[in-house]
Symmetry: C2
Subunit: 444 residues, 2 copies
Amino acid sequence: MCAGSTLIIRESCESAGTRPSRDKMLLRAVAATRFAGTLRPGARRPPRLLRAQSSRASARPGEENIKPLDGIKVLDLTRVLAGPFASMILGDLGAEIIKVERPGYGQTGPMSQSPGYDSIASAVSGMMHITGPEDGEPVRPGVAMTDLATGLYTHGAIMAALLWRAKTGRGLHIDCNLLSSQVACLTHIAANYLNAGKEAKRWGTAHESIVPYQGFKTQDGYLIVAAGNNKQFARVCKVLNLSHLSDDPKYKTNTLRVQNRKELLQILSQRFSEKRTSEWLGKFEGTGVPCGPINNIQQVFSDAQVAHNDLIMKMEHPTAGKVVIPGPAVRFSDFKINKPTPPPLTGQHTAQVLREMLGYKDDDIEQLLKAGTVCQNKQPLILSGVAASQSQAQRRTRAQGDTPREGCQSVARHPQQGSNPRPTPQQAPAKPTAPLHKIMTVFH
Amino acid sequence: MCAGSTLIIRESCESAGTRPSRDKMLLRAVAATRFAGTLRPGARRPPRLLRAQSSRASARPGEENIKPLDGIKVLDLTRVLAGPFASMILGDLGAEIIKVERPGYGQTGPMSQSPGYDSIASAVSGMMHITGPEDGEPVRPGVAMTDLATGLYTHGAIMAALLWRAKTGRGLHIDCNLLSSQVACLTHIAANYLNAGKEAKRWGTAHESIVPYQGFKTQDGYLIVAAGNNKQFARVCKVLNLSHLSDDPKYKTNTLRVQNRKELLQILSQRFSEKRTSEWLGKFEGTGVPCGPINNIQQVFSDAQVAHNDLIMKMEHPTAGKVVIPGPAVRFSDFKINKPTPPPLTGQHTAQVLREMLGYKDDDIEQLLKAGTVCQNKQPLILSGVAASQSQAQRRTRAQGDTPREGCQSVARHPQQGSNPRPTPQQAPAKPTAPLHKIMTVFH
């Protein structure tokens, strides 16, 4: 792969503002820096943060932390959530993300509308139909899983395209959409219908054909117990001090337990409600019965395993202060996903992108800024470099300004983060000598 | 990438039977051929099918349909669902999947237990806590989204490792797990807690901070309406013949609508219940208000867009007959994900793998089969080649036998499928001249 190769990710949906207007756009050079959630209409608040990742800190040849996508530039024209989620992961893997957005979010913007597309796709794809209480109404997964699955498909597709380009020397057009992503995830639900005409239904937390295999209310929360076989069922009964149940002819096999599901669950549910979740977890420990608590978010992030897995990532934001976001899901043996940077301010890197990537001279950049063709964020930290000359020392100063040093320091304290110094601009990837072979990804 | 490079995907969980026992294993050479769902304990039935994809049909150099992972071999030691889902996608992209499984499923096997891990991870990660009716109990997404998200992360991670290997010449160890994958997908839910201490709750189909933005019961089903701004709210009111609502001071802004959510939704819900879903969809057409039906699975696969997106994929199974499964989510401009093959029978390709990939002689293979060290499926179609000599014509016959020709023909009728002939064994990827650089992926 040649350095400087460019991937383009954009949405095809006109209503989501696919193509940045030519007369006014905000450029932000970021590395997989993401917003998630929605701005509440009518409320001015900082966007909620997903995660930010700078790849530039590890792009230098000869350094240890070589990443798979070092030298790859992604031009990201998408908005929440599938596209940016893909970009974020690509950034984690070393790509440099250049994000171009139109201004003027507010109530008509993508932050208020786009999550709707997840909702709609979740409904149309059948996902909502199969999610919900057994005797209740359909619900939507609590996070935008359709968007996220699409982003996950997309990041893989883009890397497949990079591998394909390495084989063929040609660029590629990738077509991703929420509906296809969610339908492809229907797996056995789809196969059951397509092959046996079997319509799906909602099961709450339960399993259609294994009993007991579901959540139970405890004195203070919920516990999932998944007894996949008779031996495990016997162990569940023993833990519950209801050993007679596993000898009862009505519950001896799973088939019988499914047949007599209602009355068995009534007995079990009653018993589970008598103790606290932690007490039950203690009693199940070592029995080999798969079980776990239904954690709320506070409990999730208090979990030792979650911390151990580096899922709590801290960084410094230039205006919001210290921010914490979930870390990357995958760990690799020979390189680290480190040096995260926070989402940039809108227009934070406009001048830098114009100068360093597009070759504009400072005079021209100032003209564009004056004319309002582009916007540069007004943070003094950022603007300090705009009118400066291009001497090496000054460029270094600007580069330091572009990504707050506090952020790097904060991240360097993260237990499993490396501490490679940020490269100076002259170490940025060289312009490609070979023609660009673009990989274009479109979201519908 | 050298042809013949090997990826290894395995589970680290002992209880899921990570390492195939040495004294008896079943080998199946397949290309992203998948099972999904669970075998019902006590019931003998064919496993539900996900999707199968043979890459070998398009691996020949010089042919048009070059795929990104042509020449890549995946040794898949995983079971349902995250690992196989990743393998399936890698197979779609051209990889050849070699799957090794232990026999003896039944009620204690992974088909009954493994989905539990999705359940447990879904609970422990907080996913269940945020999914469910607003005033009801937590539920689990209707498909194993935690497993699937992990598979999606994994297929990307594996391709990242291939790109990294192309840069460095070194193999890599990849660490994937359900908990990290789901927690990383918590996005703004996580950020809200980590930065603002805000606990998440369940919202049914609704949006926390936009009203109306949820599912409504109609005369015959459900409709999702997502009015992201005042203009769209006014249009919703017009469609409902309730225009006075958008002028009502109580509902003029989204902030007010959120404040007066309960009484507004009561009025809207009443009105939506008066007509059928299709009538409402007709009335909303052209208004620009995002909306869609909550489809059941029959409706999903009757949807013209779903068919257009090639999401209904047909193939012939050697024992189950014609099978239909959901197609791949992503489309690429310059190569097609075609020539799917059904999940192989257990042991269908044992002899072929031993002979063609591991270099065993037929005499040795027969010894291993007799001793029960390996098993070959007893389908005459498959066994026909086991004792045959290695003349070219006979090898071709066996190759045809390994993947039923009916399957290829059936798939060739699929509108957007190509029709490349299946290569004969002598066209299989050459043994690598360079040392293997393994990429190992482990699931927890």
